[in-house]
Symmetry: C2
Subunit: 369 residues, 2 copies
C-alpha cells in the first residue's frame, strides 16, 4: 500500500536501452516541476514535490515500463489536475503511453469512486443472477415522441436499461428537456402497465453548469440513471457530477482514443476512481478493434477489489448482437450489462420481437449456472 | 463556402484500397446516426441528418483522406458535442486521425472565436513591432510569496506576459486565490515603479463552475489574462469561459496528445474556433518531438484569415532558450509570443540578468526590419 504522500504512475516508453535512464528522469521532471532540476533551490520542493523514478522494467528490446512516484499534493486532490500530473505534457510525446496508476487509500477515498456501483445498479433495476440488458435510443434526428415510442418498445420487451445514444445532446430536433420528459414518461407507463422495471439513462452534454441543469431536469422527470462521456466533458466534470447526481452514472468512451492512455487504466480504473458506476467499452469483434485481452483487462479493472472503491459495472458494446449473448455471458459472467443497439433497431417493424429475443437470451444464460 | 447546414471533417484513414469505400461509409455512419442505415426509416433523418462521404483522396499506398459532410444540427451548436460528432467514437479506431474541419460562416460566428486575438493582446500589453515575450512561474510546490518574487523579477526585466506553469492549480502549497493575489500585486508594483506593462495569466483548473469562481477572483485581483488547458477541462468549458472572461485566454496543450487529432487542427483551428486568444505549442527542437512543418502549420492555422474569426497568437514553447530568439523571430515573424521558462529559471541568482537578455534579444530582433 502506498504512502499517502505519493502516487505511482507507470509509462510504457519506447526508447533505446542507452537512453532509458535519461528518458525516465525527463518524464519525472515533466510531470512535476517542469523545469531542469538545476532551476530548483528550495529544499521542500526537492524533497516533497519533485517526482522520482522508482522503477524501470524492460518489456522488449526497445520498450520499458517506467514507474514514477508523483507527489499527491501536486494534484490538489482534483480530478482534472490529477490527469494533468499523470499525462498532461507527456501526452505530447508519441512514444510514451500511460499504462497504470496506483494511488494511496485516503487519496482514492477523497474521490469516492462509484457511489452506486454494481450493487446499486442491481438495486435500482431489480436484476439478480444474470447480466443486465441495455439498448440505445437511435438514430439522431428523430423527434422526442419517436424516441419515446422506441423506448416504450424496449421497456415492453423487458430490457433493463435504455440509454440515449451518446450522440443525443441538446439538438433542436429533440431538445434535452422535451426528449427526457417524453422518454421517461413512456417508460414509466410501460413499467406501470407491465410490471417491468426499465430504467432510462439520458446523455448529459456541455460543461458542468449545463450538466447540472440537465441533471435537475432529469431528476424532476423521474430519471434514475445518467450517461456521461468523461473525455469530452473532462474528468473534473465527471467527478463533480458524481458528487451531485445521487444516481448511477454510465461512462461513455467517446474521445477516449485508442491507446495513448491504456484503455484498462482509463475506462477501467480512472473512470471508476472519479465516480462512474458503469463503463461502456468497445468489445472485441464489433465495430472497433480493441483486442479481447484489452477488453478482459478493462472488465478486470472495473470489478476487481481496489482499495475501498465499489466495483463498477462493465458494459461491452459497439456492434454487439443477440447471437453473441452466450459468448459474452461466458466471458464476462453475470456482473456485466450487455448493450445492443443498432442490431436491434434494424429489425424495423419487428423491433419488439427482436428485443424480446435479446431479453430471453440473457435470461436463459442466467439460468445456466 | 459551405452551406450552413453541413460541416466537412477530413480523416486520414489507413486502409487497403479495396476497403476504403466501406471504411469511409462506416465513419459517416459512426459520426452521425451510429446505427446501420437499414435501421432508419425516417425520411428527414435520411435527408438532413445522416453524414455523407463527399471525397476520398489517396495520399499513399494504403492511406486516404476521407472527407465527410456532417449535419451541423447534430452538434447542437455546442463545442463538446461538436467534438463528439467530429471524433467521439472514431477516436477509438487507431488507424484513423482527424486532420481537418471546415465549418460554415454563421456556425463559426456562433462560437465567436478569439474575443481579443492578436490585436487585443497587443492592446493589453502595449507591445508593437516585435514578438511578445513570456515566461512561466515554476517550479510547483513553492509558496505564493516565492512565486510573487519570481514574477516581480520577470516584470522588472521587461517580460511582457508571466503565466502560471500549467501544473499550478489549487494546491495547498499555493492555493489559487492566495497565489493570484500575491503575484498580481508584485507585478502591479513593478509596473508602477518601472513603467513596465507586464501582464499575469494565472492557470484555471477544475470544472467550469470552479473556473468561474477562479475567474471572478482573478478579475478582483486585477488579472487581465488567463491560461486554460482545453483538453483537460473539455472544449465546452473553454467555450463557456471565453464567453464570460472578458480577457484574453491562452490555451495550453496539456492532454492534447501527439497525433490522433492533427495538432494544426486542434491547437490551431479548433482552439481558435472555441475562443482561445493565444495557443501554446511545443516547438520543434525543444523537449517535444513536433516536426518543424507541424509547428509551421499550427502557426499558419492560428493566424490565417478564416471566416470572420480573429487571428490567434501562436506561442512557441517547450524547452526554448534565449539563443533561439533570432531563429524563432525569423521563422514566426512578429505576431508570436516567445515563451521561455526553465532555461531562464536555471540562472538562479542571475535570473534578472538572464531575463533581461531575453527581453533585449527580442527587442533587437524587432528592430531588424
Amino acid at each position: 500500500m502506498l504512502d499517502e504522500a505519493w502516487l505511482h504512475a507507470t509509462y510504457r516508453v519506447e526508447s533505446r536501452s542507452s537512453e532509458i535512464d535519461a528518458r525516465a528522469n525527463a518524464i519525472a521532471l515533466e510531470q512535476s516541476i517542469e523545469t531542469p532540476i538545476e532551476g530548483v533551490n528550495d529544499e521542500r520542493v526537492l524533497r516533497d514535490v519533485v517526482a522520482r523514478v522508482v522503477n524501470i522494467a524492460r518489456v522488449a528490446e526497445t520498450s520499458f515500463d517506467v514507474t514514477i512516484a508523483i507527489a499527491v499534493e501536486t494534484t490538489g486532490f482534483e480530478a482534472g489536475q490529477l490527469l494533468n500530473m499523470l499525462f498532461g505534457n507527456t501526452s505530447l510525446h508519441d512514444d510514451v503511453a500511460l499504462i497504470d496508476v496506483e494511488v494511496p487509500p485516503r487519496f482514492a477515498a477523497g474521490f469516492g469512486g462509484p457511489r452506486f456501483g454494481i450493487a446499486g445498479i442491481r438495486e435500482i433495476t431489480g436484476v439478480r443472477g444474470r447480466p443486465l440488458t441495455c439498448s440505445a435510443l437511435k438514430p439522431q434526428g428523430l423527434a422526442p415522441a419517436q424516441y419515446a415510442q422506441i423506448a416504450g418498445t424496449f421497456a415492453h420487451a423487458g430490457i433493463d436499461v435504455v440509454k440515449d445514444d451518446h450522440g443525443l445532446a441538446d439538438q433542436s430536433s429533440a431538445p434535452f428537456t422535451a426528449r427526457v420528459r417524453a422518454v421517461q414518461r413512456a417508460i414509466d407507463e410501460v413499467n406501470r402497465a407491465s410490471g417491468t422495471h426499465c430504467v432510462y439513462a439520458p446523455s448529459l452534454s456541455g460543461h458542468c453548469g449545463q450538466m447540472r441543469e440537465q441533471l435537475l431536469h432529469a431528476r424532476d422527470s423521474g430519471v434514475r440513471m445518467l450517461l456521461i462521456a468523461p473525455m469530452l466533458c473532462g474528468v473534473a466534470t465527471l467527478a463533480a457530477v458524481a458528487r451531485d447526481a445521487n444516481m448511477p452514472l454510465i461512462a461513455h468512451p467517446a474521445m477516449a482514443g485508442a491507446a495513448r492512455i491504456a484503455p484498462p487504466l482509463l475506462l477501467g480504473k480512472l473512470f471508476r476512481l472519479f465516480g462512474a458506476d458503469a463503463t461502456i467499452f468497445p468489445n472485441s469483434g464489433g465495430r472497433f478493434s480493441y483486442a479481447a485481452k484489452v477488453c478482459d483487462a478493462i472488465v478486470e479493472r472495473a470489478r476487481a477489489q481496489w482499495l475501498d472503491l465499489s466495483p463498477m459495472l462493465p458494459v461491452p458494446a459497439g456492434g454487439m448482437s443477440v447471437a453473441r449473448v452466450p459468448e459474452m455471458r461466458a466471458r464476462f459472467g453475470d456482473d456485466a450489462m450487455l448493450l445492443i443497439g443498432g442490431s436491434l433497431l434494424i429489425a424495423g417493424d419487428q423491433l419488439l420481437a427482436r428485443c424480446r429475443e435479446f431479453v430471453a437470451a440473457v435470461k436463459r444464460e442466467g439460468e445456466k449456472r
